[in-house]
């Protein structure tokens, strides 16, 4: 990783290297849990924002500080942490930043899919070597969790409820005994202090591969809610859009506050099934309309504007993005969106007129 500027997406510990350094030097005299590079309070500051040694620590997770506190406290008790929530509620983002802050390594990740097998969770073999020399240390391929146990650091397990139950249950012994047994080598690898797992799961996947209660019991579960109010969500979107456009070097001007407020308003209203003033009930579309989608909608629009337009986001760009984000199930969502346009947006006056016209042209 010599030239970090060419890397598409930087892990949190590199993206926020300066902040972590500043916190580390500020934190020198604090007692730290074994295996942690920062004290719990510094980790909290890294996630929720503040200043350290004159450097502004950007807030990474906005709006629910107490949940962050509970998450950190959970990891302090060497319990494992399970973050669940609707898609796009920053589960993975929080888990990445927590591991970056605690052990400067957010890369030990297992991505849960239907194809994830028990070997991915524990260890597998280099079969050429296995056949040539029999089981040996050299032939062993360690899983991210294995490596985290050896080094006493954080492992991440994304979308845990996407993988099959028997694969999930491979975690039970790891979490309760804190060892991995390798019968082939007649050995047991004990976890070093500081080891823990941060898993994420999606509430929309409930029932796909429900976690067994034995496994659930070994996690402290935190439900990440959608942002509590309009202001919080606007600030989340503004911040992330700025970061992403910087990262991807989008050649478009940052959107105005007005644009972001409009998009977030539309998203919140459709998500909650009522207008912000709570006077009008709305039909919610079939898909999830998360904050993450609002962010990607705006960055998409910026990409469109930067590459094909005059460099600033137009109502047409936004309309195209909205159309794609909201209409997932062709027929029903199209009607929902149409109703919203006619009943709500059309009546919002001149400020919204341009966006309304573009959207209704798009939604014909």
């Amino acid at each position: 990783m010599n030239n970090t500027t060419d890397i598409l997406r930087l892990p949190a510990e590199i993206l926020y290297k300066d902040e972590l350094e500043a916190l580390k030097s500020e934190d020198l005299n604090e007692t730290k849990p074994i295996g942690w590079q920062l004290s719990p309070k510094a980790v909290f500051k890294f996630i929720t924002g503040g200043t350290s040694k004159g450097l502004t620590i950007t807030p990474k997770y906005i709006g629910h500080n107490r949940l962050v506190e509970i998450a950190i406290a959970t990891l302090l008790t060497d319990r494992s942490l399970l973050l669940i929530g609707e898609p796009g509620t920053a589960k993975s983002w929080l888990s990445e930043n927590l591991s970056a802050a605690i052990c400067s390594d957010s890369a030990k990740v297992i991505q849960g899919t239907a194809g994830t097998s028990e070997e991915h969770v524990r260890y597998s073999w280099n079969y050429a070597m296995l056949i040539a020399n029999g089981p040996s240390n050299e032939a062993l391929i360690k899983s991210p969790i294995y490596r985290a146990m050896e080094t006493g650091s954080m492992a991440r397990f994304e979308e845990i409820s996407r993988c099959a139950s028997e694969v999930q249950d491979a975690l039970i012994s790891i979490l309760s005994e804190k060892t991995i047994a390798i019968p082939e080598l007649s050995r047991e690898i004990p976890a070093q202090r500081g080891f823990s797992i941060i898993a994420t799961a999606n509430t929309r996947d409930r029932g796909v591969n429900d976690m067994s209660s034995a496994l659930k019991r070994r996690f402290n579960t935190i439900v990440l809610p959608a942002p509590a109010n309009l202001e919080t969500e606007i600030s989340i979107v503004t911040k992330r859009v700025a970061e992403i456009s910087n990262n991807y070097q989008l050649k478009a001007a940052l959107p105005t506050n007005q644009v972001i407020e409009k998009i977030v308003t539309i998203f919140r209203e459709l998500r909650q099934g009522q207008t912000l003033d709570e006077k009008q009930k709305l039909k919610a579309p079939t898909g999830v309309i998360s904050t993450a989608e609002a962010i990607s909608l705006i960055t998409n629009s910026m990409a469109l504007a930067g590459s094909f337009g005059n460099g600033s986001i137009t109502d047409e760009d936004l309309a195209a993005g909205l159309q794609g984000a909201i209409i997932k199930d062709e027929e029903k969502d199209k009607i929902v969106w149409k109703e919203y346009l006619e009943n709500v947006m059309k009546k919002r006056g001149a400020e919204w007129r341009g966006l309304y016209n573009s959207c209704s042209d798009m939604n014909k």
Binding site: I72, A73, R79, R217, N220, T221
Partner: protein, 763 residues
């Protein structure tokens, strides 16, 4: 004020405060204890030292005349005031309460009507902002957590005592100028109270108690006001202050009530939790509190059928401790315990543990007072009535059933004995009108409802509290009930409320309120345009008329009202009948009620107009078809139409060209009421038969759905009769037709019928 005086600032309902106060008293060993609390209640409050008193209890003072004002001082076992009282009585100290007497407090409260509520709430927002800021500076989310962590958990007497006075004094300086400006009345009220407290302290000193042997216990906010050298209240000033005529009493109290009071000190949000804390403080074992609390939560969850293992309790305790450590605290505060419980027991969801949290936070404790300590007028009234009505045996914690026969008992001599059950019934109805939970009426089946009533009686401490609270409404049961009903009448604005009050006042034997309610009902009646609301009211009144005569209550004033209700309902019928099938359900119900009233009070109400309106409804084609059908069936019932007319109407309604759903809907209405009236009219069936025969396939499908519904709730012998009738018509012989028609369906037919369920109507 004298510099040697010992002043101890407290927060009400604070176990930490009680704990330190006890140590403080042990250290000073005072001769005289002066406590913030109404000075005229000293004698009453000293009775709380009685061994049989079980907190929570409260002192209640209330005005005798309107507007009713109250002041309430609740005491829990962990209240510092209660602790001081118990300690002082044990050591034989002089104990006095030094705040303004209750009659002045009440008068001053009564006169407080100048302040604009907007200004008041703005000032409170400002005040709360300061508290929030204090909490924020300590990295806490709210003031309660800050308070618990820094004061309740502070085990050093010196730092507690210094800290609380210092903080309260500083906050007072931040708000007092603004208060004087924004809320001059409140500000002055406070000044007067403090001047009176200083006066009482001075009095104690002049009586010979040496200042260093006096301990003054006041809310921390008042410490500065007591310490100042400002003038004390003189005798003349005290005389000049107006007083309200008032009463006061001690009463049992409950944790549930305590927890629903706003802004009254530390421990009122979670009384049981704070009681647990008090016990742990006494046992020098505060560290165990989180384990006790979380185990109780687990226990509660288990009884509700949730899974809550001991292992999870341990994890929750560890998480709570970790949360505490992150805030730099020593023991978890209630918020930490809540969050740990939500995370570990609820898997992140409050909903699962909310009920258990509530139960353990609040608890179910209800205080009690020994006989005779608390005697308010209503309590005495109730006791007298219980004795007079020979119900004293029912005053027990075991639920007992009581059956009443409201008729005159002719076997006994005195009138009082003859009507004892009626008087009992009135008494019990009064209690339930006041929402006093002593007696619950059971439903008795219709045939005996006229003279029999069944009650379940059970005396609980909560009943005692409710009776004491009834004093706020009046000094006897009767006056209190009248007041209660009057309030209900004023606050409700629907016909239903007025009718309910009429019924209640009749049951409670209250003539005045009865006529008031009648007047209100009459006003509402004129404004109401809903047919079903009015029929409901007239049904209620007719019910009272039917059964009320037993209660020796003059019901004559009801007659004109029922007439008026009936007439208005009749006139609204046609207008209300232009509606869809959904709204028609309520109208059908209303029509049935009207028919009942017409039948039961035919000599009273104008049935002629009613039946004219029914005729109009039956004839018109532009109203809801089902309702027209019902109206027509009523005409049939009363023999207002003859056989020919009936056949003609059926054929008109079911003629070709009429959409099937309207035609069959009409028949559904017709068949919905008196079926025997239908079964006896053969012409009707002939027309129906003709109708069905001439439908084309698509129309037949539509009609079938409605007809099937219409015949769906016919009983089997009625269906047989229909089959026999049709057999006669078709000439296939009554019996064989009936047999053929009532055969089990074969598979093909069943499938066909099932297909109908998916039939798509393009309404």
């Amino acid at each position: 004020m004298h510099k040697d005086l010992n002043i101890f600032g407290i927060r009400h309902l604070s176990p930490g405060g009680s704990f330190h106060l006890r140590a403080y008293l042990e250290q000073i060993k005072p001769d005289c204890i002066l406590i913030e609390g109404p000075s005229d209640a000293t004698d009453l409050l000293l009775q709380l030292g009685n061994n049989d008193v079980k907190p929570p209890v409260a002192l209640l003072a209330y005005t005798n005349a309107l507007p009713i004002e109250t002041v309430l001082y609740p005491f829990a076992s962990y209240s510092p005031e209660y602790e001081a009282l118990s300690w002082g009585l044990k050591k034989g100290c002089t104990i006095r309460f030094i705040d303004l007497p209750t009659d002045i407090l009440l008068k001053l409260k009564q006169r407080d009507n100048q302040t604009d509520p907007e200004i008041k709430s703005e000032f409170h927002r400002f005040q709360n902002k300061i508290y929030d800021n204090v909490a924020g500076l300590y990295g806490e989310d709210n003031y309660e957590s800050y308070w618990e962590r820094n004061f309740e958990h502070n085990l050093s007497l010196h730092s507690y005592n210094q800290g609380i006075s210092l903080e309260a004094t500083e906050i007072r300086q931040l708000v007092i100028d603004k208060e004087a400006l924004a809320l001059p009345y409140d500000h002055a009220y406070n000044e007067v109270r403090e001047a009176h407290m200083r006066r009482e302290i001075k009095k104690a000193i002049s009586e010979g108690f040496s200042p260093e042997k006096i301990v003054v216990i006041v809310g921390a906010y008042h410490v500065e006001g007591i310490q100042t050298d400002r003038t004390t209240m003189s005798d003349e000033t005290l005389k000049m202050i107006p007083r309200a005529e008032s009463n006061m009493t001690l009463m049992p109290y409950s944790y549930h009530r305590l927890s629903s009071r706003t802004g009254y000190g530390a421990g009122n949000k979670a009384p049981y939790y704070f009681e647990l804390m008090w016990q742990q403080l006494l046992g020098q074992n505060l560290g165990d509190l989180s384990a006790i609390y979380l185990s109780s939560i687990a226990n509660n969850l288990r009884t509700q059928g949730h899974n809550a293992s001991s292992a999870t309790v341990i994890e929750a305790i560890r998480l709570a401790n970790a949360l505490t450590a992150m805030r730099g605290g020593e023991y978890p505060v209630l918020q930490d315990l809540h969050d740990a419980a939500i995370t570990c027991f609820g898997a992140g969801e409050l909903a699962i543990v909310a009920d258990a949290l509530n139960r353990v936070d609040i608890g179910t404790a209800i205080g009690s007072l020994p006989e005779g300590i608390s005697q308010t007028p209503v309590q005495e009234d109730v006791a007298r009535e219980l004795k007079r009505l020979k119900l004293i045996d029912y005053k027990s914690a075991i639920a007992q059933e009581l059956t009443l026969d409201l008729r005159e008992n002719i076997k006994v001599k005195s009138t009082e004995a003859a009507f004892i059950d009626l008087t009992r019934s009135t008494f019990l109805h009064r209690l339930s009108a006041l929402k006093i939970g002593f007696a619950k009426q059971l439903h008795v089946n219709q045939e005996t409802a006229s003279w029999a009533e069944k009650w379940v009686l059970q005396w609980t401490p909560e009943v005692e509290i409710e009776i004491v609270e009834a004093n706020l409404k009046g000094e006897t049961l009767e006056i209190a009930v009248a007041y209660q009903l009057k309030e209900e009448l004023q606050n409700g604005d629907s016909l239903a409320v007025a009718t309910a009050v009429i019924a209640k006042s009749c049951l409670c034997g209250l003539t005045d309120i009865f006529s008031n309610a009648l007047a209100v009902l009459q006003h509402k009646l004129v404004e109401t345009v809903s047919f079903s609301d009015i029929t409901e009211a007239s049904r209620q009144l007719s019910f009272i008329l039917q059964y009320g005569s037993l209660r020796n209550f003059n019901l004559e004033p009801l007659f004109p009202l029922l007439q008026q209700l009936f007439l208005r309902a009749a006139l609204l019928l046609v207008e209300n009948s232009a509606c869809d099938d959904k709204a028609a359900t309520a109208i059908i119900n209303g029509i049935t009620q009207m028919e009942t009233v017409a039948r039961e009070h035919y000599e009273l109400v104008n049935t002629e107009i009613w039946h004219n309106e029914i005729k109009v409804l039956a004839q018109r084609d532009d109203l809801n078809a089902k309702l027209s059908g019902i109206a027509f069936s009523i005409l049939l019932e009363h023999n207002f139409v003859n056989e020919d007319e009936c056949a003609r109407e059926v054929s008109r309604r079911l003629s070709p060209g009429i959409p099937a759903d309207i035609g069959a809907g009409w028949f559904e209405g017709l068949a919905g009421r008196n079926r025997y009236a239908l079964l006896s009219r053969i012409g009707l069936w002939r027309e129906l038969d003709n109708y069905v025969q001439m439908l084309d396939k698509d129309e037949f499908m539509r009609a079938l759905v409605f007809l099937r519904r219409a015949f769906g709730d016919f009983e089997s012998n009625q269906k047989n009769s229909v089959a026999e009738l049709l057999g006669d018509l078709w000439g296939t012989g009554a019996e064989s037709t009936a047999e053929f028609l009532s055969k089990e369906l074969n598979e093909e037919e069943t499938t066909k019928l099932d297909e109908l369920n998916d039939f798509d109507f393009d309404f």
